[in-house]
């Protein structure tokens, strides 16, 4: 396995063009934290983005940061915290911004902070045929052409290398609190409905964590409201989520379903389900009958269940407009240099 470690965008362009010329297939790698998500793909080389780690622009009053794709989450968090802000990825400190976006990762706080894909305002991408293209703008609103920068989010590095992004950031909350309750998914759903502006309601086996973030008075008020719904067994400002039982398992599925159908995703004893969002992480011993069971149930209700840790790939949920998907892949990576077979679009090819 060859390693290519470019130090600049021009270096990425050169590496990708060279891969086209020499018919070498590439896997784009950032912090290696999200690399398990995707179908198995044979490649001859890895292209590491971690030297592309510069801060390009950050003005807190704009609530926008422009960073290179290989910037580590820990570094970004530090820079933004100095401006009293955050990019709510909740990804590991050694993950990269590009990796988080390419993998389509979600924050456990999605109920309040929204989807990370919605924070991407502009991107520079080196396409599979070695073109450096930019779309979007460094403004919070923009309808100027086609949103290529949104297309690369969740594309698993199969359309291009994300070399730079402008991301919308948000003010850091002034107060944080987690309430814990004994209960299950029904209580979690009840809390979502009862407590306006909750940051997250995470159900795990036998327990529910309600995360509250915001203005101190707001968190107090939400706490009072939540206590009317059920008796909280604990209350603190520890990091959220405190309990991540799925992370102790060798294989983790990230299921996405309509929020009221979360119960369909759950097997075993090492899961966490985000009420009101419809995301669940399910820890499994090894890809086996349980994975098939989850995927069958999830597919039947229009959801997906890709693996985010361990083997098992993306699963067999159908892809919308497969012809369009394949034409896009071909347009941006005509020679199939970027991890052919890795993406969803390859499933039905």
């Amino acid at each position: 396995m060859d390693l290519i470690h470019p130090a600049s965008k021009a270096g990425v362009v050169e590496a990708v063009r060279d891969a086209n010329a020499t018919a070498r297939r590439l896997l784009v790698v950032g912090g290696r934290r999200h690399v398990d998500k995707g179908n198995p793909a044979e490649v001859e080389a890895e292209l590491w983005t971690t030297q592309l780690d510069r801060l390009v622009a950050y003005e807190p009053a704009e609530m926008i940061a422009v960073v290179e794709g290989g910037m580590r989450i820990g570094e970004l968090d530090r820079i933004l915290a100095d401006g009293g802000q955050e990019w709510p990825s909740d990804a590991p400190a050694d993950a990269t911004v590009g990796g988080v976006l390419a993998s389509g990762a979600s924050s456990p706080r999605r109920l309040r902070v929204g989807a990370l894909r919605d924070t991407v305002l502009e991107a520079e991408t080196v396409t599979g045929d070695g073109r450096l293209v930019r779309s979007g703008a460094r403004t919070v609103k923009n309808v100027t052409g086609y949103d290529l920068h949104r297309l690369v989010v969740g594309s698993l590095g199969t359309l291009g290398v994300i070399v730079q992004v402008a991301i919308k950031v948000r003010p850091l909350p002034h107060a944080r609190r987690t309430l814990r309750f004994a209960g299950g998914l029904p209580l979690a759903h009840e809390l979502v409905d009862a407590v306006h502006g909750s940051t997250a309601v995470l159900a795990t086996p036998g327990a529910v964590e309600l995360r509250l973030e915001g203005w101190p008075e707001e968190v107090e008020e939400q706490t009072t409201t939540a206590r009317r719904v059920a008796h909280a067994t604990a209350e603190d400002d520890a990091p959220f989520p405190l309990d991540r039982p799925w992370e102790a398992m060798p294989v983790v599925v990230e299921a996405a379903v309509p929020p009221s159908r979360l119960d369909a995703t759950i097997v075993g004893v090492a899961w966490g389900a985000l009420a009101g969002v419809g995301l669940a992480w399910v820890g499994l011993g090894w890809p086996n009958g349980e994975l098939v069971q989850v995927r069958d149930r999830v597919r039947a209700i229009g959801g997906i269940a890709p693996i985010v840790r361990g083997p098992g790939g993306l699963g067999d949920s159908p892809v919308a407009a497969p012809e369009v998907q394949r034409r896009l892949k071909h347009a941006f990576d005509p020679n199939g240099v970027l991890a052919p077979g890795r993406g969803w679009e390859a499933a039905e090819a």
């Binding site: 009053a61 704009e62 609530m63 979600s106 999605r110 929204g114 989807a115 894909r117 293209v133 930019r134 779309s135 703008a137 460094r138 403004t139 919070v140 609103k141 923009n142 309808v143 100027t144 052409g145 086609y146 949103d147 290529l148 949104r150 297309l151 969740g154 594309s155 948000r170 003010p171 002034h174 306006h196 502006g197 915001g214 203005w215 008075e217 707001e218 107090e220 008020e221 990230e254 996405a256 309509p258 929020p259 009221s260 159908r261 009101g276 969002v277 419809g278 959801g303 997906i304 159908p318 892809v319 919308a320 407009a321 369009v324 998907q325 034409r327 896009l328 892949k329 347009a331 679009e345």
Partner: protein, 487 residues
């Protein structure tokens, strides 16, 4: 060669004779949208179902007619202005709210449902549809999707794209696909995200699955007035920098305040240089906390007074003035040309000053009402096109305003779209390769270019074609547009 007569007969067979128009008056009516770009079309069809839309697209493809999707026709960039022998597919008869599922925080609607009708239907369930363009009484959800519409409340809640979970789309070959999912993530490339904001060039939206936003328990609306535009803009920057993202942050300059007040009688202070409408929402405690910060920021920037909406009636009145501003300018002059640039919000004052200078240089009346929190400017040039030479001055001033915004690091459009009106300005902000990549997206959906041709991308932008030179003279290109374009 387009076979209009054959297409008309086939459409009448499929949709019923009453749903297809081809008389000169109808063709004239549907030859434009709310922009002043005038085009022309061959046929107008009114589908009542997804299958009707499929029939429209199939018939058009078979008879070689371009398809121009159209909602309520409130678009301001010429995105649904047809050109040539087009079939205009009007979705205004598809107004059913198909399903509201609070437990999944989603609703399925037909594309012709007016934005405000959806918000009203969701209210009893405790939810709303967050995007609220000023046109919301009229503009349709399908149209909102096409332009990735914004509105005053997208500062905190995000634009349409953030509120669309899935779309049923009729592609150029007549195939129906569901892009996105009722689940928070979907398999494959995010085609839903690309479809939103694509201005009808990738397919016809047949149904929309929208995300529901819980209604805030408390909403607090404040109106500040300032004796200088710089102070008003300074307050905007300060509020954001102090960590408050208000639900809405809207600025109006004196010219537009005077016009709006004459029209809406909202009690605006007409002697102020600028006013700022700030709305914060959330729980009672969250509203209280944000209000303290907002009022302090306004005070630092010498706000002369603050008016707080005492009840829902007063709140509605304050918003009436703001949302009817574009209509109110009819009291200034019979015609107007509205811009939609976005600039970094820290450069608002500098760009505004430049806009006043440009208008002064061309002896035009300019008023400004805009989404200050987003940096989304809506400079409005008022004029009488009957006065010889005026149109030319408006065109020149418009181009200079666009260039000013782009030079300040801005975008061509914040929420109205590119359409016909701004497509030839695209090389100002994108390189030839950027535009080529965008053309690749388009041709992946519609290889033959039958869906709303000649919109968004300038002529010459093709997938795999790098011939276009960066920074080509957009002004010169703009003059090549068909007569009536721009104004």
């Amino acid at each position: 060669m387009a076979d209009v007569e054959g297409a008309r007969r086939a459409l009448e067979d499929a949709l019923g004779a009453g749903e297809v128009l081809s008389d000169p008056l109808a063709l004239r009516l549907y030859a434009r949208d709310a922009s002043m770009v005038e085009g022309g079309c061959a046929l107008v069809a009114f589908p009542r179902s997804r299958d009707d839309i499929v029939a429209c697209v199939r018939v058009a493809a078979e008879h070689r007619l371009p398809v121009v999707p159209r909602g309520s026709g409130t678009g301001l960039a010429g995105g649904s202005t047809p050109i040539g022998d087009a079939l205009v597919v009007v979705t205004t008869k598809m107004t059913d709210i198909l399903e509201i599922r609070p437990e999944d925080r989603l609703a399925w609607v037909e594309p012709g449902v007016p934005n405000l009708d959806l918000a009203n239907a969701l209210r009893p369930h405790g939810f709303t549809f967050a995007p609220d363009p000023s046109s919301q009484q009229t503009s349709s959800i399908g149209g909102n999707v096409s332009t990735n519409a914004g509105g005053p409340h997208c500062l905190a809640y995000g634009v349409t794209s953030n509120h669309v979970l899935a779309l049923d789309v009729v592609l150029a070959d007549g195939g129906v696909v569901r892009l996105g999912s009722e689940a928070p993530e979907a398999a494959g490339y995010d085609l839903r995200a690309v479809m939103v904001g694509s201005e009808g060039t990738l397919g016809v939206v047949a149904a929309v699955c929208v995300r529901l936003t819980p209604l805030a328990p408390v909403t607090h609306t404040m109106l500040f007035d300032f004796t200088s535009v710089a102070d008003c803009a300074g307050a905007v920057t300060r509020i954001i920098a102090d960590g408050v993202v208000p639900a809405a942050l809207e600025m109006m300059d004196q010219g537009i305040v005077v016009a709006a007040e004459r029209f809406a009688h909202a009690g605006y202070p007409t002697d102020a240089a600028a006013i700022l409408i700030v709305e914060v929402d959330g729980t009672a405690a969250a509203v209280e906390a944000q209000t303290v910060v907002v009022e302090a920021a306004a005070e630092v920037h010498r706000a002369r007074s603050v008016r707080v909406a005492a009840d829902e009636v007063e709140r509605a009145l304050i918003w009436k003035g703001r949302k009817s501003a574009f209509g109110a300018v009819a009291t200034i002059a019979p015609h107007y040309h509205l811009h939609d640039c976005v600039v970094p919000r820290t450069r608002l004052v500098e760009v505004l000053t430049g806009i006043y200078e440009i208008a002064g240089r061309h002896e035009l009346v300019v008023t400004n009402v805009f989404h200050a929190g987003d940096g989304n400017l809506h400079p409005l040039l008022s004029f009488d096109r009957g006065v010889p030479g005026t149109l030319e001055r408006v065109l020149r001033a418009s181009e200079q305003i666009v260039r000013l915004c782009v030079d300040a690091g801005g975008a061509l459009s914040g929420e109205h779209g590119i359409g016909l009106e701004k497509r030839d300005f695209m090389p100002l902000v994108f390189s030839a390769e950027d535009l080529s990549a965008q053309a690749c997206v388009r041709s992946a959906f519609d290889a033959e270019g039958l869906m709303n041709p000649q919109k968004v991308l300038p002529d010459g932008a093709r997938c795999g074609d790098f011939a276009m030179a960066r920074g080509s003279d957009a002004g010169a290109v703009a003059e090549d547009l068909p007569e009536g374009a721009w104004i």
